[in-house]
């Protein structure tokens, strides 16, 4: 099976459990199992090639310009991990089917699980580190969903949040490290990076990259001091814990260290950081695990401890240690998944997983007892189980390791770790299964249904047979995986159970004996432990999070305290700072443009602009007056556009002006007539000063720009040159809109449509809520005067409508060659319709409106899209326009362009959006009495008797 398909399969399959849950829990879990099984079989089809030492690859270009490619490869390490992920995934899916209760949404569970599985498979198959980072983040996100699956439990939510925070922060660090690494190697492809060992280790950026990448790996693999999230993640359902913490999530960090081993390992920095962290983690977590009463917490800390062990082995940097690390990854996955599942069984059957309330389960649950005992003994490192072999290999390595030229400290600490490891494993057996039976157990406590014990039983079988026949069962895969980690330096691997009586065996015996002693005297040691004061990671984490939240809240509240003047002041200050920075830092040429003389008319226009602006400053608190004065400014600006030969802009400005005024008047109806005072005294001085500096700054900038020629050649000439030949139109503005920058326009009409629909949706929501009553009971602030629908206005707007629509059509059609186009035409048409709303009232006009405005927007966007897509059928890129000239007698020769069709889309979208927005806003003022049956209130020719006839004649 292709690796791309293999990586995509869990993601594609993730929809099925969620859909099939309607068909029942078996269908849902069956679908999840089927998807995983297919992926597993697909992986196995690639296995023979990998076992022969080949590397299977699959490549798909994604964003080659960014160095981000969907390149996948499968080597021994990838095969080992993908096999663990999918194989144990399969067992977990079976187990979870029987573990989850009826109340749990099982479809969701399997969907999350498959998403997580896909992300994990993606990590181990990625050949591109950017792609790897994407999958890495996906594991953080999907594990968040899994850990917080029981969202009704506060511990579940907190644990999920903590896991996401820690692993997410580590992921961020790793992104930095990976980018540095890619920069040094000159490629983001792992297959290239892995060949660049010398260049990378010689680079001055090696240490930063190493530290950042290790931060990512350590947080993910719960290494000290980031180990604290893992025990809290135990609030997840047990299948999740078993999956995440035996074979997948926490192993991702180890995988990464193993993957990067050929280029990063072998230096002193690597050894002291990685091996020391691993050693400290192994010993500390093993000690803590011994004193945990929650079965899952005990297993959680033992997981941390074993992860530390593997990290330490990888940190040693020798090929043989890497072999031991790879082998222990397999062994740990098998016995730890089995242990988690049996802890789940105990919890499921006995109703508690508190060791203090357990004991004597040996006779009640014999099967679980046997499975747990074998897995625990393997965890303790007793022969003949698989954990023994890899632990011996680890101890053997510690004997050859010097730490700051101290030859024995690593070996001694490793033995101490092994002692506690043996002790908590024995405790798991002794305090749960041996000893007296408890009275608190539910009646008829027994072994679970086969669905629950099949998966752990299978794993326990592996624990035994790998222990007995390591050479037959594990040697091959360990060989290729270790070969991939070390780049072939590990040579051919030989695994065997019995190495004879040697130093590691002595260390093991010591560890086991002391472990037994610790359990023997457990009560006394426990007393000492409980009396000691220990730092609590969760409280520290909570304090840090609380401090950070407080800090961000303080910053946000200072910046955003709800007063617009403050926002404006901060924004102005910041912009001024940026402007000053740019001005003082950059070089500016001397003014080289000749200033033109103004004539008397332009001075009049200028005077009107300045005068009305000054007037606005004086009257700005009266909202209506401010709007009127804004009208003067708008008028002057459109005059200016006209004078400076930009008739398109002038037309747009004029029509937008009208729509804006209507929109603002609709809104003003619900607002106080005056704006509140912005403050007096010093604050006013500050505001005025800032505003003045800001205005002068913008003015100065404009002057500087206008008095100089641009440094770079402007793009305008290109548009002018190619407008007619390339776009078939002489109106450059319109050709830019529908052709050169057609993509932008297409995006803009979509945004416009979305905005209008959002306004509509918000209106619907508000009018359905409690605000409706307040709106209905609202009394107008001033007494009302005059007719509701005056005769004069009705007649005038009716006469104007066809004329305005005609003008709109005219502006639309000639837009390609002369000022105009779909946008302006759309505004004009919308104003023509709005006039009818104003004259005869909302209900009268709305009743005569046959096409819903949503549909008009949609059809506009659709027409534009279809026009753009049409280019594809001619093998041209999206939105390439075509045009030609036709002559139909007796008409003159005229042009047909697809751009006009696109412009029609713009026209419809604008009409729909403007109308929908205005109509939505005008609905706020609607009151029950406001039903206008007739177009006007007083009609001189209307008799009450023949009103209907009149209506028909209208």
């Amino acid at each position: 099976m292709s690796l791309i398909l293999l990586a995509a399969l869990p993601f594609l399959g993730a929809v099925f459990p969620a859909l099939l849950i309607r068909a029942g829990r078996d269908a849902s879990s069956g679908a999840a199992g089927m998807v995983t099984l297919i992926a597993f079989v697909g992986l196995m089809t690639n296995a023979p090639a990998v076992m022969r030492g080949e590397v299977v690859t699959a490549q798909l270009s994604w964003l080659p310009s960014l160095g981000l490619n969907a390149h996948f490869f499968l080597d021994g390490l990838g095969l080992l991990f993908a096999g663990l992920i999918l194989g144990i995934g399969l067992l977990i899916i079976l187990y979870a089917r029987y573990y989850l209760s009826r109340e749990d949404p099982m479809g969701q569970f399997y969907t999350y699980l498959l998403l997580f599985q896909g992300a994990m498979v993606g990590i181990v198959l990625s050949d591109n580190i950017l792609l790897l980072l994407v999958f890495w983040e996906l594991t953080s996100l999907s594990s968040f969903l899994l850990i917080g699956y029981w969202r009704h439990l506060p511990e579940g939510r907190q644990g999920a949040r903590m896991a996401l925070t820690v692993t997410g922060a580590g992921g961020l660090a790793m992104i930095g490290g990976m980018l540095i690494l890619g920069n040094i190697a000159g490629s983001y492809d792992l297959s290239v990076i892995l060949t660049q060992k010398d260049a990378i280790q010689a680079s001055p950026m090696y240490i930063p990259a190493l530290i950042l990448i290790l931060l990512g790996a350590f947080t993910k693999s719960a290494q000290f001091p980031f180990h604290f999230w893992l025990p809290h993640a135990m609030a997840a359902p047990t299948p999740v814990s078993a999956y995440l913490h035996s074979a997948t999530m926490v192993k991702a960090g180890l995988f990464l260290m193993a993957r990067m081993w050929p280029v990063l390992a072998g230096t002193d920095a690597w050894f002291y950081i990685v091996a020391t962290t691993g050693l400290v983690t192994m010993v500390t977590a093993a000690v803590i695990a011994l004193f945990k009463d929650d079965l899952k917490a005990l297993l959680a800390f033992s997981t941390v401890s074993h992860l530390g062990l593997i990290t330490m082995l990888l940190g040693f940097g020798t090929p043989y240690a890497a072999v031991a690390a790879v082998f222990h990854i397999i062994n740990h996955a098998t016995f730890k998944a089995a242990l988690f599942m049996s802890a789940g069984i105990i919890d499921h059957e006995a109703g508690t997983r508190d060791i203090k309330q357990l004991g004597g389960l040996r006779t009640l649950m014999p099967l679980t007892f046997v499975m747990s005992t074998i897995a625990s003994l393997s965890m303790a490192g007793l022969p003949p189980f698989n954990g023994f072999i890899s632990k011996e290999m680890m101890l053997e390595q510690t004997l050859h390791t010097e730490w700051y030229s101290n030859p024995w400290i690593v070996a001694v600490l490793a033995t101490v770790g092994a002692m506690f490891s043996a002790a908590y494993s024995f405790r798991y057996i002794a305090h749960v299964f041996l000893g007296p039976k408890r009275e608190s157990y539910p009646h008829s406590l027994h072994d679970p249904v086969p669905g629950l014990w099949l998966s752990p039983a299978f794993l326990v079988t592996l624990v035994v047979v790998i222990g007995l026949f390591p050479a037959t069962l594990a040697e091959g895969i360990v060989d290729v995986a270790a070969g991939a980690v070390t780049g072939g330096a590990s040579g051919h691997v030989h695994l065997k159970l019995w190495h004879g009586i040697n130093a590691p065996l002595m260390m093991s015996i010591v560890a086991i004996l002391v472990g037994l002693l610790l359990i023997w005297t457990y009560a006394r040691i426990r007393g000492v432990w409980d009396a000691a004061r220990r730092p609590e990671a969760k409280t520290m984490f909570d304090a840090v999070v609380r401090a950070l939240t407080g800090l961000s809240r303080a910053v946000t509240d200072t910046l955003h305290d709800g007063t617009v003047t403050r926002y404006a002041a901060i924004f102005l200050l910041f912009t001024l700072g940026l402007g000053w920075l740019a001005w003082s830092g950059g070089a500016t040429a001397a003014p080289d443009r000749v200033l033109l003389m103004g004539n008397s008319l332009t001075i009049v226009g200028w005077f009107c602009l300045v005068g009305s602006t000054a007037c606005l400053v004086a009257f700005h608190r009266n909202r209506l007056m401010a709007l009127v004065i804004l009208g003067v400014v708008g008028l002057m600006i459109s005059m200016m556009f006209n004078y400076l030969s930009a008739p398109d802009l002038a037309l747009t400005q004029l029509s937008v002006e009208v729509v804006t005024i209507i929109l603002l008047l609709l809104a003003l109806n619900f607002m106080p007539r005056e704006t509140p005072a912005e403050g007096a005294g010093l604050r006013q001085v500050r505001n005025v000063g800032l505003a003045a500096v800001g205005g002068l700054g913008v003015g100065g900038l404009m002057y500087a720009i206008l008095s100089r020629n641009p440094v770079m050649e402007s793009i305008s000439q290109y548009h002018l040159d190619n407008s007619y030949s390339g776009g078939g139109g002489t109106n450059v503005v319109n050709v830019i809109l529908v052709d050169f920058r057609g993509y932008d326009t297409f995006g803009e009409i979509i945004v416009l449509g979305i905005a209008a629909i959002v306004i509509f949706a918000i209106t619907e929501a508000i009018l359905d809520g409690p605000v409706r009553a307040r709106l209905l009971n609202r009394k107008p602030p001033e007494p009302r005067a005059g007719d509701t629908h005056p005769l004069m206005m009705v007649v005038a707007t009716r006469v104007m409508m066809p004329i305005a629509l005609m003008v709109a059509a005219y502006i639309f059609f000639r837009g390609h060659n002369l000022p105009g186009g779909g946008f302006i035409a759309g505004l004009v048409a919308a104003i023509a319709v709005i006039m009818q709303y104003m004259a005869s009232g909302f209900s009268w006009a709305a009743a005569r409106q046959r096409f819903p405005y949503h549909g008009i927007i949609g059809s506009g966007v659709l027409i534009a899209a279809v026009t753009g897509l049409g280019a594809w059928f001619n093998d041209l890129p999206f939105l390439t326009s075509a045009f030609g000239y036709v002559t139909i007698p007796p008409l003159e020769k005229f042009e047909l362009a697809t751009a006009a069709l696109f412009d029609l889309g713009v026209f419809l979208a604008v009409v729909g959006a403007v109308m929908l927005a205005l109509e939505s806003l005008s609905r706020y003022a609607w009151q029950p009495g406001m039903v206008s049956e007739y177009p006007m209130d007083i009609n001189p020719v209307r008799d009450d008797g023949d009103a209907e006839e009149q209506e028909g004649a209208q």
Partner: protein, 90 residues
């Protein structure tokens, strides 16, 4: 020749009336007079645009003037409705 002087004269008249409209907007009592002044300003702007087109000898400005003439009154009506009724679409 004579038409050029006529254009200059007319431009002077309409320009100064623009200034007078501005004065009214600054000094008038209440909003009603101001809206009226704005409306007059729009009329004067139309005239100036047409004059400018004549002076330049082009028709392009004529259309902008037509558009203002056609749409300019809509905002005046909207202001009026707002002052009388508060609600412009009833």
């Amino acid at each position: 020749m004579i038409i050029e002087y006529a254009i200059y004269f007319a431009a002077f008249c309409f320009g100064s009336s623009l200034l007078m409209n501005l004065w009214k907007i600054v000094s008038a009592e209440g909003v009603g007079d101001r809206v009226l002044a704005l409306d007059t300003m729009v009329i004067n702007a139309i005239a100036l645009m047409v004059l400018f087109g004549m002076w330049k000898g082009t028709e392009i400005y004529f259309e902008a003037a037509m558009l203002i003439a056609m749409l300019g009154f809509v905002s005046t009506v909207a202001y009026a409705r707002f002052m009388l009724r508060g609600n412009i679409i009833e």
